[in-house]
Point group: C2
Chain length 121, copies 2
C-alpha cells in the first residue's frame, strides 16, 4: 500500500483537494494512469489512517476524501463549487467541552461544519 499512495494523493491535489473514491478512480483513468478501483479505496483508507486526508460524507452518504492539514480544525464549505476553507473552531472548542462535561460524557469529540455559498457562486 505504498506505490499507489503518492499517485492517489497527487490526483486528490489536482482535483482541488477533495473527491470521492469513485471520482479519484475516474480521474486517474482519464489521465491514463493504470490503477484498480480496489487500490484507490485502499490507498485512500491508508491516507486517512495516516491523517494525511480527511474523510467526511456527502448528503447522499458517499464518502469524500479531502487533503487536510494535521491540526484540529473545522471547515467552511461552498455548496456551489465545493471550495473548502479550513477554519479555527474558536468558541466551539470550549462549548463542546463544557456541554460534554455537563452531561458527564467521557472521551469526547466533535464535528462542526459551516456551509453556504461562497462569494464567487
Amino acid at each position: 500500500m505504498s506505490r499507489s499512495n503518492p499517485r492517489v494523493l497527487a490526483i486528490l491535489e489536482r482535483a482541488g483537494g477533495f473527491a470521492s473514491a469513485q471520482e479519484v478512480y475516474r480521474l486517474m483513468q482519464r489521465e491514463g494512469e493504470s490503477i484498480g478501483l480496489t487500490t484507490v479505496y485502499r490507498s485512500l483508507q491508508s491516507l486517512v489512517n495516516d491523517k494525511i486526508v480527511d474523510v467526511l460524507r456527502r448528503e447522499d452518504g458517499e464518502a469524500i476524501y479531502r487533503l487536510c492539514g494535521g491540526a484540529h480544525h473545522h471547515h467552511l464549505v461552498c455548496k456551489g463549487c465545493g471550495e473548502t476553507i479550513e477554519i479555527e473552531g474558536g468558541a466551539i472548542e470550549k462549548w463542546a467541552k463544557t456541554m460534554a462535561q455537563e452531561f458527564g460524557f467521557r472521551e469526547v469529540g466533535h464535528t462542526a461544519e459551516i456551509f453556504g455559498l461562497c462569494p464567487k457562486c
Copy 2:
C-alpha cells in the same frame, strides 16, 4: 403515505428516538407489524419532509432517522448506547455567523455534533 407514518413514528419512539430505516423495519417485523421495507423508507422520507424527524449519517454512511423537536438545536450522542441529548448551540451560532461573514459566504447553515461515552457506558 399516511396509514404507515404513525406506525413508523411509534416504532421510532419506542426505539429510543432514533434508528436506521433497516432497523425500523426489523423492529416492526419483530413486533408482528405488517409492513414492507419500501414503505418504511417512504414513511421516513415523508416524516423528514414534514420535519417531524431528523436525518443524519452514521460513520459508515447509513442514514439514521431521529425524532426531533422543531427548533434549531444540536446533539450530544453516546458512541456506546446511542443515547441522544438535544442541546443548545450556544456559542456556535455566533461562531458560524461570524466565520461565514468573514469569508463572504451567503445562505449559510451549519452542523455540529458532540459525541462521546455517556455516564452509563
